[in-house]
Subunit: 435 residues, 2 copies
């Protein structure tokens, strides 16, 4: 039987999962690849660290050169996070003639064009299934399985940490900080979960998906994004009363005048599939013009689900499918002009949820609705409860307003004017509502 | 740009959808295939029939020889249903050097080994994404995307017609015959939906999936199967009271002593994803040992969703990915011995739902529970209502029993003994309950 020699660079969470799959299930990978998938080298920088995998004698090294200078190694799973030295290492592996498999969405979102162009020049490939939605094979599904379609929209829950936090806040009525602490204890959130909860990670993944599905060339940092880090349990509760759950949603939607992209906490109607995605799960709903809606749900992170995606890529690369796909689709090619432009965020239509803290006296609601009406925003529903402390004469009361479809620009302007009203205390919470 | 010449044989529902995608979206297919996907010939037997697609001059023919004898045609979407002449036509197309794309699960379930072996001998390929779950790309997902995994189980709703009927019966409390008539009017059910509703179609699809996922060589007719054609609205109603919906479920589950396969109406807990699959949708839940649970949901039939799968296969075949997968995985190879054997149905453990019509007098329940207990079947819950007509002294009353896990053989034997009791009228309804 033929043999494909493989190396892993970066033996962390994902790398360990990949090493285990290759070492413990050689029969399976051989059957699915039609050849032996042989783990020849593993590079990590700290050889003294405790390992959760037994590597055969001579496999572990702290020298990247052991991979670079070994012409027998054809494929490298590069599983270091961050931008540098990940970028430099990937470039030198490509120069050395290796095909790459990566899970690093930050690197692709930032340096995709450079890396893919270099790979193409060198006749090498980069596979990246694990970079979006972990174990859910959304990259292959968009690139191949749905290739008969023009994708019309993508809606995704793409960050397991955020979804875990939001689910726990929702189900336990617990404040953000408590839940983050619990998530860290359980290993769902990293010591510094900033990029997960502020929407950065989701925006990077959305930039990648938008490129594959729509041919958009997007700087992830330009995608309008809001995280869940400021989320207030009150908003989860009011949303429930209105029949919604709040999810950190990535949205891409094609219209005649361009592509709409956004990331932010969004009200999703209870009972629809995305609203029921709980804890660390990810999900993506794709609409294609031929296939209609297709819904994918699975674990978006974690050692084994992510390793599942990496090893599938290693097999595809060994078999030769990756090369064909890579050559055909020319992803992240600087020669390919973008096929769509981004729509102007201000003109995007959407429904909104507003929560305000308002003075408990006559005329307040009238003043607020006057501002909304001036901006052509019509109201769908209102919740105005008794004051929290039960006293009838509290100074301020919460007011929740759900609107019909309105332009983002108008909603933003109205928010600013409402915040300036004397009867309104503090900032207004404004969230999107998925139709 | 390179060009791949394509033919369609059988311009029915699916064939028309495929022709439209190829003719109307040549730019898209070219981009995704890296070459022009050129529809050169369409063969149908009745040239006078009304067409829902405008074929360019010279494309339509009633002579298969126009394809067989045209060496420029490399790929053929063969979209005739049934076994013959579909089988003979496919063999002659293979002999003529064509690669095949098919949606015909009946043909594959019946003659897969013969056709794939011949294709392999001739160096040709057969792609069959559309044969299971229509637009949901489950074949590619099992064969490639989840290739790092040992699949542990598959649970699927694989027949849109049946699911439409069951959903409507459930939501409208309507009897089977009325709903079938409505489904036929709406075009969801064929004039003769026998193979859809009696479980045949699902068993054929499950036989294909079981081969891909587990290496099982299964005669579909040997898969224990029950259809929805005998389903009584009362059972849907009692199930709801117990917190379940009834779905026509295909099940494949790996255990140490072999593979369990079954098709039948099954109680699925309300709120779990499979229970919420409505109308003509299909869904599949796969559990892989690395990835965990992955859930797929989409349209399992219909012109465009099915054409989406066929055209994806045409693109994969033109690009060359199909050849690599076909060579590597050796599906339906007579040289590959089955990797698992089927488990003895009698030993399978499962929970059961029983509904009986029993004499309304003391001692009846005791007699029935004595039989169950004799067969080591313990009871989880019981529903015994007032007689249907409200009269307290009706002769017979319905009795519903839900059990804990019991062996299929024991459940079957107990059913027979219960049916023989004097206090029990008519046959016992016995349905499986998904854990
Ligand atoms: N974890 C997940 O669930 C998940 C899911 C999807 C995608 N990803 C992506 O997968 C990548 C890896 O994630 P991870 O969770 O496995 O990270 P991790 O646990 O931090 O692992 C990274 C490993 O690379 C090593 N490393 C760092 N710099 C190196 C260098 N210059 N040379 C050799 N080794 C080096 C690290 O060693 P030290 O420990 O000494 O720093 C560590 O062992 C990231 O891009 C991440 O975004 C992760
Ligand atoms: N429809 C779906 O949603 C769907 C979904 C998944 C898979 N499938 C599968 O796809 C296949 C096609 O289904 P369909 O719904 O498209 O069937 P269909 O509408 O009956 O189309 C079959 C076409 O083939 C033609 N045909 C039959 N024998 C022929 C022959 N010897 N030579 C040339 N043409 C011939 C038929 O012509 P006549 O009209 O003259 O008989 C008809 O136009 C079946 O295997 C089915 O199981 C269908």
């Amino acid at each position: 039987m033929e043999k494909t020699n493989i190396a892993i660079v970066g033996l962390g969470t994902v790398g360990t999962g990949v090493a285990r799959l290759l070492l413990d299930h050689g029969d399976r990978t051989a059957r699915h690849a039609g050849r032996t998938m042989w783990l020849k080298k593993v590079v990590d920088r700290d050889l003294g660290k405790h390992r959760e995998v037994d590597l055969p004698e001579g496999v572990l090294t702290d020298s990247l050169d052991d991979v670079i200078n070994d012409p027998e190694i054809e494929v490298v799973a590069q599983l270091i996070g961050g931008l540098e030295p990940a970028r430099t290492i990937m470039l030198s592996l490509l120069e050395a003639g290796k095909n790459i498999v990566t899970a690093n969405k930050a690197l692709l979102a930032e340096h995709g064009a450079e890396l893919f162009t270099r790979a193409r020049e060198l006749g090498r490939t980069i596979a990246f299934e694990a970079s979006v939605a972990g174990g859910v094979p959304i990259i292959a599904n968009i690139s191949q399985c749905l290739s008969a379609n023009q994708i019309l929209s993508l809606e995704g829950i793409l960050n397991g940490t955020s979804n875990f936090i939001v689910t726990q806040m929702d189900e336990k009525d617990a404040p953000y900080d408590d839940v983050v602490r619990r998530a860290q204890e359980l290993g769902y959130a990293e010591a510094n979960p900033a990029m997960d909860v502020d929407g950065t990670d989701v925006a990077q993944k959305l930039a990648i998906l938008a490129h594959l599905a729509f041919g958009a060339t997007v700087n992830w940092a330009e995608i309008p994004r809001v995280g869940i880090d400021g989320l207030d349990p009150d908003d989860l509760q009011y949303s429930r009363q209105l029949g919604y759950r709040i999810k950190l949603l990535a949205l891409a939607k094609l219209a005649d005048d361009g592509l709409e992209l956004s990331v932010g906490p969004t009200l999703v109607r209870i009972g629809t599939p995305l609203a029921e995605v709980r804890d660390a799960f990810n999900a993506i709903r794709v609409i294609g013009d031929a296939v209609g809606p297709v819904f994918y749900h699975g674990l978006g992170a974690g050692q084994n689900p992510t390793a599942s995606a990496v090893v599938a890529d290693l097999i595809d690369t060994a078999v030769g499918r990756t090369r064909l796909t890579f050559q055909t689709l020319e992803y992240f090619s600087i020669d390919n002009p973008p096929r769509v432009k981004l729509r102007d965020a201000a003109t995007l239509l959407g429904r909104y949820y507003f929560r305000l803290s308002v003075a408990n006296h006559p005329g307040t609601l009238a003043a607020i609705t006057a501002v909304l009406s001036k901006h052509s925003i019509s109201i769908a529903s209102v919740i105005q409860h008794e004051p929290d402390d039960g006293t009838e004469h509290a100074d301020t009361v919460p007011l929740v307003i759900m609107t019909h479809a309105a332009a983002e620009g108008a909603a933003k302007a109205a928010t600013k004017e409402i915040e300036a009203l004397a009867a309104v205390n503090g900032p207004v919470v404004r969230l999107r509502v998925k139709d």
